[in-house]
Amino acid sequence: MGTKTILLVEDNPDDVALTLRAFKSYHIANEVVVAQDGTEALDYLFGTGAYATRSRNDPPAVVLLDLKLPKADGLEILRRVRMDDRTRLLPVVILTSSREEQDLLNGYSLGANSYIRKPVDFAQFAEAVRQLGVYWLVLNEAPPL
């Protein structure tokens, strides 16, 4: 499954642990970089702050983005990502608890590639993560960034 990284933007450590566990159980070996808030995510993507030394020519294969985050929230991150030429084509999947119509509408309006609702049941959750991995890491041809 390639070597590209997955950027997981998620502030809840339990969700992080469960997501990583799901990746692991389906043998998705790509590096998963976890950003716990919006600022960290943007730093990673734009090579600023703690990630100032990171190469900008190494974008993640996909960003898994929670919506409710401390500081800059998921929609704000998405807006900034889409505004910047370096990241505007980056695949971004919203992975959230919310099924509110407004969140769906805003997410897609701002250019989300996909919107996945995190199921409570772990079996379903793991299945969703597996399909995500297969789709974005294997089937999907990444945009030429």
């Binding site: 809840n12 469960l18 509110e100 199921p119």
Partner: protein, 569 residues
């Protein structure tokens, strides 16, 4: 004065024929002594004196005393031989005065200068003339009265029209004052009692603006005193109209506070006045004052009546203006309240949205943790947990799933309350068919006989109505699970109040004793072991139906099935 000697006309019989038996009263009197020298029978009969009595009288004796000087003058004046001396009044012996027309003729009667008088009694004619004159006067008076009444009516009609044209309290009162001048008064003033109990002049009218200013100044310098003996304060106290046919100096002096006040009052030149109460719903609202000055008219009872009529109409108009003002104030208050409630509602809605959003995001996360780590325990520590321990973990996971469903249902119920209702014609038959198709796909092995009435339509929000059928048909589908020949029917009953749509099944049914709990959120009439569910379905149905202005109700019997009815208006 020379008389003409009387020549007998064929002797005695001639005299009788021409004088004594003449049907007109005749006499001869001495021009000097005014003594009657001869009278005929008709005169004696007419005047009630016998011939002998007559001959003892002078012509002055048959006159009303007041006419005597005129008679003397007349006799003394030089006169032609024959003259028509015109109308006179004579007095008969019984004192009755009669009207007569006299023709006289001077002559020599036995050597004396005398006058022959022929009397024509015109009493009846005179009386008739007098009566005619009286009738004419009365007729003119009646005409004048009619004309005056007509003018008053016209004035009142005009006043009513003017008063009706304004809903503004102050404008109405100003109109009244303006209308009264000069038809009814030289001055007209309107005073009202304000909310502090003070007497306030709200309108003054006079044809001359300078005089209006004068009257206004007077009121400003000497505001009315509630205890004043006359005028506005008295009428406000008693509620009875006051009529002052004349305004004597003494009255002015009595009402004046000081010499300057009296001087100003005098400059108004008031001749007559009337003050009328404006009787409103709550009592005496004010007064209407009419004053006559330079016109010199004096008010009488009839004027008072007209004034009262005007005051009555004015009070009606003021009452109406007040009602209008009240209604406007009420409207403004209502609008203010609506705006306030709208703001409150908006705030409450925003709060609810924030709450829902929080529920959607934050309540699920811990469930996912509980569920996920229970699963992790099962997977990673399988060998170290016995069946009971594993069973516990299964229960934990099942509970989190149930809780997730509850959260989802709660959110959809709250979403329903907030969602905008978009009404348009909806084909209910098609929606029901689509829902049933989806149910069949979920459980293809269930042999449910479904009948859906064709051509069911309604005016409503198609997305919401689809949710109604999803819930009702979903329930019917679920509760007919144990029925060997499950049947579901969707139909309509035409009623006067509009169509009633129903979904009927022959499933588990319910006890009507608990029908009131059926539509309450999270109320269930079956255990989770019997039938799964959160108890939100019918609450959602009811909320949607209510938002369409309709209602929902149910009938059922345990073991026989259930029918849910709903209307949409």
């Amino acid at each position: 004065m020379s008389g003409v000697p009387v020549r007998a006309v064929d002797g005695v019989s001639g005299f009788h024929l021409l004088f004594a038996s003449n049907p007109l009263p005749m006499w001869i009197y001495d021009l000097e002594t005014l003594q009657f020298l001869e009278v005929n029978d008709a005169a004696a009969a007419q005047y009630g004196y016998a011939r002998d009595e007559f001959l003892g009288l002078t012509i002055l004796d048959i006159r009303p005393a007041e006419d005597v000087p005129r008679v003397r003058d007349h006799v003394a004046a030089g006169r032609p031989r024959l003259q028509a001396s015109g109308m006179w009044r004579h007095r008969r012996k019984d004192g009755a005065v009669i009207d007569v027309d006299i023709v006289s003729h001077t002559l020599d009667f036995g050597g004396r200068a005398a006058s022959l008088v022929v009397v024509r009694d015109i009493t009846l004619q005179k009386r008739a003339e007098r009566e005619i004159a009286q009738l004419l006067t009365r007729e003119q008076a009646a005409r004048a009265a009619v004309e005056e009444a007509r003018e008053r009516l016209a004035f009142l009609a005009e006043a009513s029209r003017e008063l009706a044209s304004s809903l503004d309290h102050k404008a109405t009162l100003a109109t009244v004052a303006r209308l009264a001048v000069p038809t009814l008064a030289d001055w007209c003033a309107v005073d009202v009692v304000d909310e502090h109990g003070a007497i306030v002049r709200v309108a003054t009218a006079h044809t001359d603006p300078a005089k209006v200013a004068l009257a206004e100044e007077l009121v400003r310098r000497y505001p009315p005193d509630w205890n004043a003996p006359h005028g506005v304060p008295k009428v406000l106290r008693t509620g009875k109209p006051e009529l002052y046919p004349t305004i004597p100096e003494a009255m002015l002096a009595e009402g004046a506070r000081d010499a300057e006040h009296l001087r100003l009052l005098r400059t108004l030149g008031m001749q007559s006045a009337m003050v009328l109460p404006l009787v409103a719903r709550e009592g005496i609202a004010g007064t209407l004052t009419f004053v006559s000055a330079e016109s010199g008219r004096h008010y009488m009872e009839a004027d008072l009546e007209l004034g009262q009529e005007l005051a009555f109409r004015c009070a009606l108009a003021v009452g109406r203006a007040q009602l209008y003002r009240d209604v406007q104030a009420l409207n403004a208050e209502l609008e203010r309240r609506v705006a306030e409630r709208t703001t409150q509602l908006g705030a409450a809605n925003k709060e609810l949205e924030a709450f829902s959003y929080s529920v959607a995001h934050d309540l699920r996360a811990p469930l996912r943790t509980i569920n996920g780590f229970s699963q992790a325990l099962l997977e990673d520590y399988q060998g170290r947990l016995d069946d009971t321990g594993q069973g516990f973990l299964f229960r934990i996971r099942r509970a989190t799933q149930q809780m997730e469903r509850l959260i989802d249902d709660l959110l959809s119920l709250s979403r329903l309350s907030r969602a905008e209702l978009r009404r348009r014609p909806v084909d209910l038959t098609t929606i029901a068919e689509r829902v049933v198709r989806s149910l069949r796909q979920g459980k293809p092995d269930r042999p449910v006989a479904v009948t859906i009435a064709p051509g069911l339509t309604a005016d409503g929000d198609d997305r919401l109505l689809e949710a109604v059928f999803e819930n009702l048909l979903g329930n019917a589908w679920k509760f007919t699970r144990d029925q060997p020949l499950p049947q579901i029917e969707v139909g309509v009953i035409k009623q006067a109040g509009g169509p009633v749509v129903f979904v009927r099944d022959n499933g588990a049914g319910f006890d009507m004793a608990y029908s009131h709990k059926l539509f309450a959120p999270f109320q269930r009439l079956h255990t989770a072991a019997e039938f799964e569910g959160t108890g939100i379905g019918l609450a959602i149905v009811q909320r949607i139906v209510n938002r369409h202005g309709g209602r929902a109700w149910a009938e059922g019997e345990v073991g026989k099935g259930a029918t849910v009815y709903f209307t949409l208006q």
